[in-house]
């Protein structure tokens, strides 16, 4: 027998380039069909006079839809609210995620239980979560109001006013606050997991060295932990901001953008306009207003994350 008999056969597994493309193909197809196509369709729609009744792309109106949308009184409010909700959620989520990760890297009794509790909102179905929050901040049966009344912060002759209820979803700032709170609640577990992964990857030596060098908790946090966490915080910010800025579910299930347009946000307004209101082209135009913001945010966050990561290598 000659040597060739004993050599293993060269198969598909050895052809790295082909194998790479084959494995990438499903996700490429998926992105093209479900992200790329709708995106270009939206651009096309936004420049026509298409409606739900007549969704054909032929009545070309150029940037007319954008101008039209810009002049509506709801637009500045929706834009403002989208920014407020996104920034508010982002800041609160990052602060709380950092705090939670600081807590969870330490060892204490009941840590496993706390971990499960902290991760729970993530595992909760949206419908259940919505019922939860609707009831929690209900206009009449809100347990939060009940608690506030019991500690004499709410009700006749108390700091929060004579009324017995706060009507969270019926007021501009309470409504926005509620939307921020719900967003923080549902995004915190994911952000915490990301930040905790970054936190545990910092060598323990560094923290012990800081202890020996005389640093207390806050100095360690601001001089050592946060700078080291910066790249991962950027990643967490990007995810959180993109998820909140593009989300309409929380608003739709709570305030519905009201009263008036006081708590309206861009994605829900786009939905109401395009699908509920039937003005498909105007809805697409509103949705596209968000695109440059989202794109710029994504590019910025990626660049900052990259820069922070390579910082250690620069002279």
């Amino acid at each position: 027998m000659n040597g060739a008999e004993t050599t293993a056969r060269v198969g598909l597994g050895d052809r790295d380039r082909l194998l790479g493309w084959l494995m990438l193909a499903p996700s490429l197809l998926y992105i093209a069909a479900l992200v790329g196509l709708p995106f270009f369709l939206a651009i096309a729609l936004s420049m026509t006079s298409a409606t739900v009744g007549d969704p054909s792309i032929h009545g070309f109106v150029g940037l007319g839809n954008f101008v039209q949308v810009l002049h509506e009184s709801a637009f500045p409010l929706a834009l403002r609210n989208s920014v407020i909700v996104t920034l508010g959620t982002l800041i609160l989520t990052l602060v709380l995620a950092t705090a939670e990760s600081e807590l969870l890297v330490r060892d204490f009794r009941g840590k496993r239980l706390l971990q499960i509790l902290l991760i729970l909102p993530w595992a909760m179905p949206v419908s259940l979560a919505a019922i939860d929050w609707l009831w929690l901040l209900d206009s009449e049966f809100s347990p939060v109001d009940w608690l506030l009344r019991h500690i004499h912060l709410l009700g006749p002759g108390s700091p929060l006013g004579p009324a017995n209820h706060l009507y969270y979803y019926g007021k501009e700032w309470l409504g926005l606050g509620a939307i921020v709170a719900i967003n923080v609640w549902r995004l915190l577990p994911f952000a915490t997991i990301i930040v905790l992964a970054g936190r545990t990857s910092i060598a323990r030596d560094i923290f012990e060295q800081a202890q020996v060098d005389g640093a207390g908790f806050f100095r360690t946090l601001f001089s050592i932990t946060l700078p080291a966490l910066l790249p991962i915080l950027m990643v967490a910010s990007m995810f959180t901001a993109l998820l909140v800025f593009g989300d309409m579910a929380v608003t739709a299930l709570t305030t519905r953008g009201g009263p008036g347009y006081a708590t309206q946000v861009l994605p829900y307004w786009a939905y109401l306009k395009g699908i509920d209101g039937g003005a498909l082209s105007e809805g697409a135009a509103v949705a596209l207003f968000m695109f440059p913001v989202l794109l710029a945010g994504a590019i910025l966050a990626l660049r900052m994350a990259y820069r922070a990561e390579s910082q250690g290598d620069r002279p």
Binding site: Q211, V212, G312, D313
Partner: protein, 344 residues
């Protein structure tokens, strides 16, 4: 500068006794090496001195003051970790200034201190670099400068040379000892490398299973090991050990030499007929692997001989080797402890 006193230190994790009763007094300005195999408890002991772990029992005193329950930052100790633990996001200057900053020292004073430490370590050209851009040797110098900068009561070193290349290590050993002699700071140096312990320590504490087996100068430990563990652990190669007349007889390989005249057996020397099984070149000397008949089983022995002597030896031959009686050390076969030789 201060003394360090460990009184009855114990540390257990559940049923595991990592440190099991250690009493050591380190004099002011002394360089104490703690030596032992991995898992002997030396690292746990060091972490308790630093305040990173609390002892289960016992007391720690630095400069006569009890510090057992104080956190690390209240102990005025400097520590150099095996990894050097430089802060990755800070430049060299900021790394060195950090321990001063935590004490709220004013900027001007801080700068002067940093400049002083930088001068001693000779790292003026590295000041604006970040740790990722430093070599192993440079990192070590920065870590030492950071340890030095605040005049600590105590230096603690955790195997600081183990991540350096072998070539740099010998030089670093010398530099480290010089640094200690220059500053006179009491030093605890933890290592598993006996060359470091023997070469640098004023005294060595040899640990195993959470206990100090022997505490003494490198010469004492080498020449007069307190038990068979120390005898077998210290020295390369370890001490030869034979069972004779109900005792263990130990002697170092360099004292086992071929007799000049085979016929003569001295009364003041132990004579052994050894079968030479292998000769190994070590550079300055040769290592002779031999076997002797000792009761039922043959016993392996090692001898270290100069090249001139090695030239007269041949693999496979049987030669008479002798050890001067004054070089023999006796141990109890059950306890392993040293026993004095009644005859001499």
């Amino acid at each position: 500068m201060a003394t360090l006193e460990l009184r009855g230190i114990k540390k257990h994790y559940g049923s595991i006794h990592a440190v099991n009763g250690v009493d050591v007094v380190v004099a002011e300005g002394e360089f104490l090496a703690i030596l032992g195999p991995s898992g002997c408890g030396k690292t746990t002991l060091m972490r308790m001195i630093a305040g990173l772990e609390m002892p289960s029992e016992g007391e720690i005193l630095i400069g006569g003051e009890p510090v057992t329950h104080l956190p690390p930052r209240a102990r005025n100790i400097s520590m150099v970790f095996q990894s050097y633990a430089l802060y990755p996001n800070m430049t060299v200057t900021k790394n060195i200034a950090f321990p001063l900053k935590t004490r709220g020292m004013p900027q001007a004073e801080r700068d002067a201190k940093v400049a002083w430490a930088v001068g001693i370590m000779g790292i003026g050209h590295l000041l604006h670099r970040r740790p990722a851009r430093l070599s192993g040797g440079e990192k070590q110098k920065v870590a030492l400068a950071r340890a030095l900068v605040r005049n600590p009561a105590l230096f603690i070193f955790d195997e600081p040379l183990s991540s350096l290349d072998a070539q740099v290590r010998t030089m670093a050993r010398g530099e480290l000892r010089q640094l200690h002699d220059r500053t006179g700071v009491t030093t605890v140096y933890v290592t598993h490398d006996q060359l470091e312990a023997l070469g640098m320590g004023d005294r060595i504490a040899i640990m195993q299973h959470g206990r100090v087996h022997q505490l003494g100068t490198p010469q004492e430990l080498y020449d007069d090991p307190a038990d068979t563990f120390v005898a077998a652990f210290l020295g390369a190669p370890p001490m030869n050990m034979l069972e004779r007349d109900g005792r263990i007889v130990g002697f170092r390989a360099e004292y086992l030499l071929p007799s000049a005249s085979p016929a003569v057996a001295h009364d003041d020397a132990l004579s052994l007929h050894m079968h030479i099984s292998q000769l190994e070149f070590l550079g300055a000397e040769w290592l002779v692997y031999g076997e002797i008949e000792n009761g039922a089983a043959p016993q392996k022995l090692l001898a270290k001989v100069p090249p001139a002597v090695a030239a007269t030896l041949h693999v496979g031959e049987r030669r008479q080797f002798t050890v001067a009686r004054s070089r023999l050390r006796y141990f109890d076969p059950t306890t392993g402890l040293r026993v004095r030789d009644e005859r001499g």
